[in-house]
């Protein structure tokens, strides 16, 4: 079974600083997808970034980037120039082809002014 582990239940960062959220996963598949979702206190999950395992280049979306290490089964999220609006729960998720999405337990990020 595929499992997703987020080892940091809570993190905090000063506004404008950079923070990295960790995620590891376990799979025997070669082709799969990885995601980071943000869930603000309003509760609506929002996709932050996605990565296809067959792509070696790390995905980036503005201030958000990932460090995808396929051999190590690691998929960390880096948030640069943190903003107050980045305060939220962040979930790492794994999906193998044509299957359901598996989420980690989440990391609660607080951006401090």
């Amino acid at each position: 079974a595929q499992t997703v582990t987020q080892s940091q239940p809570e993190m905090s960062v000063q506004e404008a600083e950079t923070v990295t959220l960790s995620c590891t996963y376990d799979t025997s598949e070669n082709n799969y997808y990885l995601f980071w979702y943000k869930q603000p206190p309003s509760r609506q999950m929002i996709l932050v970034i996605r990565q296809e395992a067959y792509k070696q280049q790390n995905a980036t979306e503005n201030r958000f980037s990932v460090n995808f290490q396929k051999a190590a089964k690691s998929f960390s999220l880096k948030i640069s120039d943190s903003q107050l609006g980045d305060t939220a729960m962040y979930f790492c998720a794994f999906m193998k082809l044509h299957n359901d999405m598996r989420f980690g337990a989440g990391t609660r990020l607080t951006v401090k002014p």
Binding site: M45, I46, M95, D100, F103
Partner: protein, 115 residues
């Protein structure tokens, strides 16, 4: 355009009651997913529809849980004879095409509390 909407936002039920949770996906989205999110946990997959066809219900925890999408748009998740362990946030998500790997857009969820 309008996103995924869910109703009610909050539902309190007495143990043993039946509940029905509604999801309105983004118009034209083919795929629809239901998830259960327990307090302090990540969402867990319940079931998946492609149009009106329920293609995967492997995540439904018991036969008390039933989902339908009769016309391929609005979906309803029904829980019969609710138990305290059913208390959770129920999230609905939709995606544009048939591929399960397409980006999923989530609704705000329904928080169910079973007393």
């Amino acid at each position: 355009g309008a996103g995924v909407s869910q109703s009610p936002r909050y539902k309190v039920a007495k143990r043993g009651q039946d509940v029905a949770l509604r999801c309105d996906p983004i118009s034209g989205h083919v795929s629809l997913f239901w998830y259960q999110q327990a307090l302090g946990q990540g969402p867990e997959f319940l079931t998946y529809f492609q149009n009106e066809a329920q293609l995967d219900k492997s995540g439904l925890p018991s036969d008390r849980f039933f989902a339908e999408r009769p016309e391929g748009s609005v979906s309803t998740l029904k829980i019969q004879r609710t138990q305290q362990e059913d208390s959770a946030v129920y999230l609905c998500a939709s995606s544009e095409d048939r591929s399960r790997t397409d980006t999923q857009y989530f609704g705000p969820g329904t928080r169910l509390t079973v007393l």
